[in-house]
Amino acid sequence: MKEIYLFELKYRLRRPATYIYLFLMFLIPLLFAVFEKSNTAQYTNSPNAIMGVLGGMSILCLFFYAAIMGVAVYRDEEHRTAQTYFTFPITEKNYILGRFWGSFTIVTFLNIAAVLGAMFGFAIGIFLDRPDYGTYTSFNIASYFYPFVYLLTFNAFFIGSLFFGLMTFFKRMPILYLGGIVIFILTIVSSRLLANLDTEWLSIYVDPFGNKAQNFIDKYWSVHELNTTQLSLTGKFLLNRMIWLGIAIAIFVFTLLRFSYKGFLSSKKKQNTKEGKEVYSTNNPLPKIVQVFNSKARRENLWSLSKIEFLSIVKETVFIILMVIGIVIAGFIAYQSNQIYGTPSMPLTRYMVAQIAGGISLFSVIILIIYAGEAVHRTRQNKTFEFYDALPVSNNTLYLSKIISLIGVAVLLTLISIVVGIIYQTVNGYFNYELGMYFIFNFARIFPTYITTLLLAFFIHVLVNNKFLGHFIVIVIYIGLPLLFTLAFKTSNPLLIFGGTPGGFLSDLNGFGHYLVGEFWLNTYWVLFTCILAVIGKVFWNRGFFSSGKERLRVAKQRFSGRTIAYSLVLVFAFASVGAYSYYNLKVLNKLEDGNYGEKVNADAEKKYGKYIGKPHIQVLDLKAFIDIFPEERRVEAKGEFKVVNNFEVAIDTVLMEVKFPIAATRITKVIYNNVELKPFLKDTVYRLFMYKLPKALQPKETASLVIETKAITKGFSADSETAVLDNGTFFTDAIFPSFHYDRALSDNGVRIKNGLEKLDYLYPPRTDSIALKKNLFNEDANYMTFEATISTAKGQTALAPGLLTKKWEENERSYFNYKLEEKSDYFFSFVSADYEVKKDSWTAPSGKKVDIEIYHSEKHNRNLEYFIKGIKISLDYNSKNFFEYPYSVIRIIEFPAHSNYAQSFATTIPYSEDFGFVADFSKAEDYNYAFRVTSHEVAHQWWGHIVTPSKTSGANIISETLSEYVSLMTMKKEYGENGIKSFLKNSLDTYLSSRQFSFKPERSLMNVEIADYIWYRKGSMIMYDLQDVIGENKVNAGLRSFLEEFKYNEKGYYATSEDLYKAIYKVAPDSLKYKVDDGFKEIVLYENRVIEAKTKELKSGKWETTFTVNSKKIYYDDAGKEREIDTKKNLVDIGLFGEDVVNDEKVTIKDPFYFELKWLEPGDNKFTIITDKKPLKAGIDPYNKLIDRNSDDNLKSIEE
């Protein structure tokens, strides 16, 4: 065995490929480590990050492991040495053991190389001194050692024994691919499972590599834990590792025991029995054959050979298996991803094409890369070339036939995506197949990527005469280069990233939009690029035998003549032209800069204009907006007639105007101040900031008229998706007018330091800043103001702005609308235009005022309108009754295209993404009805945000978001009962806990939160729910009502802070519960509640006496997630006893409490004895998970009898 082991080792060490593998295994983690970046307080080289880099290698390693472990035995088959080798006096076991451990040793060398690569990479990272890449901690060998053992080595053993076994028994290369792909699928599946709350626990079992399992385990870890906890072989991670190690050992032992020389040598040949018995007979004399070699004949030959090549691919079992797997995975991915908050969406064609493509196209790319390699090597491998290359077939035919066969495969794969999508829809009972969309999407968007992929892979394989290396290089170019470009150069230039195209999105409102144009040019660009590669490949195509690289070059030179030169020139010319045209569009007509550029522009601006922060500026009292939208040209012209005022105590002599509209080419065309046209004395066209000198200084309290005209135009095609103005579905805000004050644009401290700006502990001023208290958080360019808009659009579309529709007319083939806001509002308006249908309803306020409800929606979306209406009504009702009557007489929801997934509440008007509920399938009552919930939240903003506006201070945004979330939760409770709350809280808890480790800054308390939405939405809703639960909903609402009274409409002269809100609730809380308000608002508190044991026995009376012990623990954490102290006081916590879960009228499973009460629990164990009528099955502490607890599974426990 030692002999074989050493032989294997020596053999490997003498192969140049081994060193290439070693080098790559060193280089790749090195690069990953160098470019590892941390935006959070997590160290860039934290144990978790190192685990990420090394664990991430596993999937890449598949290639190397396969190349080394897979062929160890296969080599004897391939080189036909088996026959002789096996006659030597070596036992089968020693042979296997020697080969296995020999190659495993080599694989271990590779893993060591990876570890060293990561070490060097992080060291280089530290050395480079890049503040925007995060901070580094000191080197700790353990952080490398554990991933090396538990991930790399375990995985190498698993993959190694799998491939080793597969090849030993099947002796066919394709089996390697198949094995690799199955592993690959498992990793995809496990990361998919992770994305869903109900399935994430499965990743422990499914993930063969362990890093996904670890991701599940450390999901709720804080930054501090990520920074200090080493990978340890315990708990669920141990389980995962043992499962896969077990499988690996099983395979290994099986291989060892079942391997026999005889079995290895015997070849299983299936005999085809369908042969006809017919005997050759012919009466006719053999015709005199004619041989023609004209161009028609050549074409026929090409076709004929392409067919043979094509059949050679598609008739292969492995190909068919790959296809089947691809289809299954596509279905799985579609099923998994076609949902929001766990609620399924309708299987719309626009979802299907993307989701099916997401599954299949990945497979297709793998298939195309594999079979491009096969096409290059097939005739060599099966030695057909030895006679075939001597046939009178032209080099063109020989070469092109392979490409054509691959294109045929690409077409087949594309068609399969379409068919699978249609089948998926049919199975789900959805029959609105949009075939046009299927074909355009798949053939205009997916198919070109197949073509570029296969041509690239084909080219590489022609040049590189080694299949594994070829595949690897293709993968590096295909995945590695784009990654490098994005990481190292922060560029998203589609002209540089292989196969890159400008983005786009599909929409029911907007269809493919204008995006196909840019996509067409960029696809043409890349297809032409790969065609040039194909021509080069042709020159180097290997026909017959060549004995040296020199000879190959000689042949290449000889072939590169005449027509080939002509074709190359034409292609190069076409490529250059398309490239130039695309460059002109992307970079000259539009803006396309890398990430560093944007940072630098923003930093320079802050250095120049930072002095204006907090300085007096004009503010708006009244705006009459005239907006002309030209959807077909994607253009806007706007005129704003402003009445402005100086609310400050000093005179204002200059006006600053910053253009913030997302379309790059937005210009201020005219500024008229008190009837005098102004020209800017400072023009910063890069940052788009302009300054005007006023003819006469505006004195305190003085007002003036200001007219501003702007134009936003789109030109050619851009890398930016330019979603503001679309063919059908325009939605933009008051940013069409310039802002009158300067605000910081950079908030990441790393980026700030890198660009020479000061580090900011807080983004907003403290709550004690008297100037900041006078600033409206949403727009400090106005306090409360009046608003009117005249908005025009293309005929057939409806244009909307906040306010009552007062007039509507048509003029010059355009539609005009005039809106007027009945009540004052903050400076926060939306402008929307599309072809809509309207669903109307109404709601009557407690005072008897009638409010019109209007849902503007696509004609395709009639499904869920009732939920939106219900959400509006209930939220209007709740807010009006508890706080203040709704101030307007209309409220609208307006759909906008699916470029983003959110809704935003402007006065009277709520633009709503078409993906956010319009196409969801709420037919199952237990699914979370986010259409209702989000609507309720957005409507609540009419109060929390618009009537009470937060000040521009730290934490103030909770007034807007946390309170809207609270209202939404309360309406949910009212409408959907326990089920509604359950899904709501479950999502909130999970999102809050799992987002903590990604917190951009140190984790802030609710009162100090500045930009972390997971805190103001998720944690906020948890806290508010708990508070109303213990204090009482009415009391809390009373507190909120007085808070609103105090701060509404800025009557007080300054805006509310988070502290004001805290005080309002603190005031209504009884003394015993004030700690909960403090915990919730001022602290980071996690509970660790669990049931220790529970026993029940039947009493003589037939009742049941249950004794159970619960353990309660409450821990305070600091802002880095470090444990600060364990609470020693009593806490009010729910406890309960439950029977079997019951299914309610709506077929939703809910708990059935026999006993349920709030109890003051001592820290540590608390014992209760409760008597119930029926026999309880489960005992629980905080059983509904109202408190923030990282392990909510142990809150319930089965009761023993």
Partner: protein, 291 residues
């Protein structure tokens, strides 16, 4: 007529596979006899346009093989020594395809032609079977069939009868000699009998160059009365090898025999044998100098 002039080829590892090869080959069967590793296959491949030489030229009926490989391939039939097939394609489909490539584009003619060919190589029964499922002999016959398609004017067959049973071998020989009437047929082999049976001309090829060229019978006759045989003991072989020009040592009924070459009768128990081409072959590869 095939004419090879000053052909040279040295591999990167230093092996000189072709060393100034000159050959003129007319219509008819031409045998190329040589030991393994002599460079026969290199020569065959080079003629068959599959490999480049370092220098020299090959011309066939006015076609310059290196400059117009396309033209040569139109009239070429080539059966390499070791070749493979597309495993997932049937023999019939593949031969049809090759017939197409060889310019036979009339469909009905082609179908009849291929059927006939399949019959000739005795594969008609198995024509629908995928080539991957063929046995070694069947595959060889398929190879023969593909080489014969399109009435080639230059047929190169490299070790064609390897793996064929005697019956199939005869069948093949008949086929080949039929074709040899109006084509140049080069048969590369180390089986002397094949050459004797089939060829009108031959060359002995060794260490990259043509050792001798001529008519098989004439070449054989050139050694008449110079080949002698003796039955010896095993231990004596070494001695004989140093004393005589031993051409071959072989067993007959378990007894070791040696054939030696000598200008005159060596006596000492030797007897004149009825010499064959085999003796000539051994003689020529032992003694590089031409007779």
């Amino acid at each position: 007529m095939l004419s090879i002039k000053n052909l040279n080829k040295t591999y990167p590892n230093g092996t000189q596979a072709l060393n100034n090869v000159n050959l003129e080959i007319n219509n008819g069967m031409f045998g190329l006899l040589g030991p393994n590793g002599a460079g026969k296959s290199t020569l065959m491949r080079t003629i068959a346009t599959l490999q480049l030489s370092d220098s020299g030229s090959i011309e066939f009926d006015g076609i310059d093989v290196f400059n117009e490989p396309e033209e040569l391939r139109k009239v070429l039939g080539y059966l390499p020594q070791d070749f493979g097939v597309y495993p997932k394609v049937s023999a019939e489909m593949m031969l049809n395809h090759i017939a197409k490539i060889k310019g036979i584009h009339n469909k009905s003619d082609r179908t009849a032609y291929v059927a006939d060919l399949l019959n000739k190589v005795n594969l008609y029964k198995f024509r629908k079977r995928n080539l991957g499922d063929y046995s070694g002999g069947m595959r060889q016959r398929f190879g023969i069939a593909q080489a014969l398609i399109g009435n080639p004017k230059l047929i190169i067959v490299d070790e064609p009868t390897a793996g064929l049973d005697p019956l199939e071998r005869n069948r093949f020989h008949n086929l080949l000699s039929e074709l040899g009437e109006d084509a140049v047929v080069i048969l590369s082999t180390h089986i002397v009998d094949d050459v004797i049976n089939l060829c009108t001309n031959m060359a002995v090829f060794n260490e990259g160059s043509v050792v001798v060229q001529g008519h098989p019978q004439e070449l054989t006759n050139s050694l008449n009365e110079r080949i002698f045989r003796k039955r010896i003991e095993k231990e004596e072989l070494e001695k004989y090898q140093s004393d005589y020009t031993v051409l071959s040592a072989y067993l007959r009924s378990g007894q070791l025999n040696v054939n030696v070459y000598a200008e005159s009768h060596p006596e000492n128990g030797f007897e004149v044998v009825n010499n064959t081409l085999e003796d000539f072959y051994f003689y020529s590869i032992n003694q590089p100098q031409t007779v």
